[in-house]
Amino acid sequence: MKRNFVNTMALLAGMSLLVSGSVSASDAEGSSGSGETPTLVVANWKGYGADEEFGAARFEELYNCKVEFVYFNSVEELYTMLQTGGIGNIDVALPSTVYTQTFRENGMLEPIDTDKISCYENLMEAYLNLPEATGESGEVYALPWTWGTTSLGYNPEAVTGEITSWDDLYGEAYKGKVAFFDDYVTALMTSAIHTGQNPSDPDNLDLEAIKNDLLALKENVRTYWASYDDYLNPYTSGEVVIGNMWAGTATQLMNAGTPCNYIYPEEGTVGYVDMWCIIKDTDCYDLACQWLDFMCGEEFQYNFATVEGNAHNTVNENVYAKLTDEQKAAVWALEVPSKVYMQPVLSTEQQNEWLEVWNEVKAG
């Protein structure tokens, strides 16, 4: 009996030693945040440009500070994060058009002093002064960083005929070989475009028609993808030959070995703009402005637009002018889409309604 007891104590002691050992090991690797160097807390998607070598690491070098990342998996998560303690802790964040307006209206953002942004003049007109990012009296609340589309991609070796329209996803031709984005906003918008409606005008949409349209599409869908990986495997093995995807996905798929063509269907395509904004009550406003300047500036934007296999569209005029045709083709920006529908701002009821439709389609 006593031997058991002693053994137990020894075991517990051993385990606690092991744990404290690994604790000190992991603590030695990473440094704890507070120090004399100012820290900028950045909220972003994981692996989305800012945490590359030419991003945060370079910024830390240039401005002698520390950059700490907080990652989110969806913009809703970012919203909740900010509401439950993020304000005051997070300094800059990257919402997309949809939520920029929500953040602004809820007083979660600081106006950006454009005098402190040296590259402001060089940003493309089309993405400046978007209504979501502009305040009552013209203050700028967010800076565009990159834009993108969720358009039609396909494997030219596996499809017959020319692909020019969203119609090609439906019908018998590619039954069971379609991949579709599992995001209720994109899904409903794409379907709206297909049924001839204007997705950027959510108040006038026929949701019933959209639901039936999506249910018809579901017959053909092999998988609803949520990330690049969901695409890679079925695509390279030939299970999926066509579907909607981001431009970056198309590039990555090509680099993974299976050819991929990315086109903008004639009916129009869904677009988004990701914007940097400064969160209210930040304790390092100037550093935040410098971050925005860096992110939209020539050096970073050029790297961002030309990095091998994971390039993104630039919003900086000077950078766009420097790109070769090849590089533009790599981000599928040689041919500009005719009609791009930006994601609209939805009221809470509309969000719930749209999600309800999407859940009905998925469950049905």
């Binding site: 053994n7 690797e29 990986d229």
Partner: protein, 273 residues
């Protein structure tokens, strides 16, 4: 038992264990595969292991999970053992009622448990936090500890305690010298279950972990959804090796699996093994 039945059982058992272990073997093999996503052709490489220790996000998440689960397990052991001990002093009906009450966190799906706790924490203003995650995990593993320690109490012979008290030992002495060693297998089993359940508990941690904090299950889920590299395999292989070592060590020290999982009452058995 007939020979045919024995052979059938042995084959069935072999197939069952094979089913359980083939994916694990696949992971271990794939941790040496240079081709991404575990696809063929197979290229032998050792690169994932150093990657795991230097650039990967998985190891910090695993260490965090380890620390956290240990904390939760220890707390659950303490509170659970106290509960089982206290329940010995209660009248039969009350004890049964409390026992059923303790089944509650297991009976309700963890999704609901996590979500309801999140709502309350939001209301209190605490929201997602280490404290919240700790509470959620502790309440989910507590039933296991209580169940296993109670089982041990039920199975145990109480006369040594009575004898000790008769001989004049105070309650503290009785507890440490007699009661505790008797229930130690139950406490250990409970602690082990608590650790395992907390280590794996995806639902609770997904809802209650502070944003930006990633414990292992949440990290793996995120990686699978957004893009993983084969260091995931390396981590899994390492974890399996370590667990195997711990199990062998425990076995050496005399804690056999059978005594940990022995039933509360033995029906129709003539000897103890």
């Amino acid at each position: 038992m007939s020979k045919g039945l024995k052979i059938f059982l042995k084959i069935w058992m072999f197939l069952g264990f094979a089913f359980l272990y083939i994916p694990i073997l696949v992971i271990i093999i794939m941790s040496f595969n240079g081709t991404a996503y575990g696809m063929f052709p197979f290229k032998f490489t050792l690169e994932w292991y150093p990657y795991l220790f230097t650039k990967s996000e998985l190891l910090p998440a695993a260490v965090l999970s380890l620390k956290f689960s240990l904390t939760v397990a220890v707390s659950a052991i303490i509170v659970g053992t106290m509960a089982a001990f206290g329940m010995q002093s209660m009248p039969e009906r009350f004890r049964k009622g409390l026992n059923s009450a303790f089944q509650l966190p297991i009976t309700i799906p963890w999704l609901v448990q996590g979500v309801s706790l999140l709502l309350i924490l939001n209301l209190l203003g605490i929201g997602r936090s280490y404290f919240g995650m700790f509470c959620g995990n502790v309440i989910c593993v507590l039933p296991y500890v209580v169940m296993l320690v109670l089982g041990r109490f039920a199975m145990a012979d109480r006369t040594p305690e009575a004898a000790a008290r008769l001989l004049g030992a105070g309650p503290v002495r009785v507890f440490f010298d007699i009661t505790f060693p008797m229930i130690v297998p139950g406490v250990l089993a409970g602690g082990m279950m608590a650790f395992i359940v907390c280590f794996n508990s995806f639902c609770i941690q997904y809802y209650l972990a502070p944003f930006g904090v990633r414990t292992l299950p949440v990290e793996v889920f995120t990686l699978i959804k957004t893009g993983y590299k084969a260091d995931l395999n390396a981590l899994a292989a390492l974890m399996i090796m370590i667990s195997l070592a711990v199990i062998l060590l425990l076995n050496r020290m005399g804690y056999s699996g059978t005594s940990l999982f022995a039933a509360g009452t033995k029906k129709g058995k003539m000897h103890h093994d």
